[in-house]
Subunit: 199 residues, 2 copies
């Protein structure tokens, strides 16, 4: 068989960079083809469709991001862990120039509420899966903290609350672009969940 003339992973990187900056709907395969120095038709041959290409690129991102979160949530006191968690989250939203926002949140809100779109459903599951895993990670950290007496409450409910807040932060980031505000909200949330003072 004839070998690929392009680097599969390189294309995924270039594609996700564009998707992250401009959204799935706002990115054309021509854009990706140009930046990756690949013929547009080759992308269709290799990936099948824009959504399929996005899905592959997103899975790679999701894996990396989840690993980073897990690391952040594994060191120090519960308060330190949650602080590192929010830090990483906000830093992720604010990365790039101009800041690119949260690809998961953006992707979720880009989904069509239309009926027949099967690829949309795959994407929805990918987004939902990452969020579910993040909730599980936070819940584990809270449960461990509770066992150590650093937290008094329902880990499941608190984890859901915290991760819902991070989604809200992603939205406010787009609305106001005010990073100090985001960090204040995050700090306030940690105070609220752990009980203002100690932790």
């Amino acid at each position: 068989m004839r070998p690929r003339e392009f680097d599969h992973d390189e294309v995924l990187r270039v594609a996700f960079d564009q998707f992250w900056r401009k959204g799935v709907r706002g990115t054309s395969l021509s854009d990706i083809a140009r930046d990756a120095a690949v013929q547009r038709g080759s992308l269709y041959n290799a990936f099948g469709s824009k959504e399929a290409l996005f899905l592959q690129a997103y899975e790679r991102y999701a894996g990396d991001y989840l690993a980073a979160l897990q690391k952040a949530l594994g060191v120090g006191s519960l308060r330190k862990r949650l602080t590192a968690f929010f830090d990483l989250t906000i830093t992720n939203f604010r990365s790039g120039t101009p800041p690119r926002g949260c690809p998961t949140t953006r992707g979720l809100m880009e989904l069509g509420a239309a009926e027949g779109e099967g690829l949309d459903e795959n994407a929805r599951q990918a987004f939902a899966s990452l969020i579910s895993r993040i909730i599980a990670l936070v819940q584990d950290a809270l449960a461990a903290g509770a066992a150590r007496g650093e937290f008094d409450g329902n880990p499941a409910a608190a984890a859901l609350h915290i991760v819902t807040m991070t989604r809200g932060l992603a939205v406010l980031e787009r609305a106001f672009g005010d990073e100090p505000q985001l960090r204040k909200i995050a700090a306030h949330t940690i105070d609220l969940v752990l009980g203002r003072k100690g932790g």
Copy 2:
């Protein structure tokens, strides 16, 4: 001059319905023209562009929605007010079949991070403006509640927290479509802000 052959407000209603269901990028002016029984060119003549049409339709929605929130936030104890606020918010996300989600959150995440897009900036301001007004409304309710001894905390910080949560709920709604879950998170948030027991 020649009079319009279509009802300006009717077009706005039809257009916003489509924008709400399918997003701005996912809605074509042909769709709107068909549903409104108006020639596509007439829409361009009357509104100038899709984004401009969206902006007009959105302003109408924002006004109505804000008025409803204000009403919900004006009756009963602080706990009742916040409950009504979250109720209305979630009911709004879940309205339609299938549920349409939150148009503001969706619109915000649809924005291009691109450079030159001026209409995007107008839309961003419209979204941000509605969110700011909602924050102000919630903050007023909290301040009034504090004056009555129903709340002990920083109204500004708590209002920001609460509204950030509603944005997060809008995202989770798209991810999981689980309305009971949304209502649980909302109840938990009220408990957290008011202090689990009384209020």
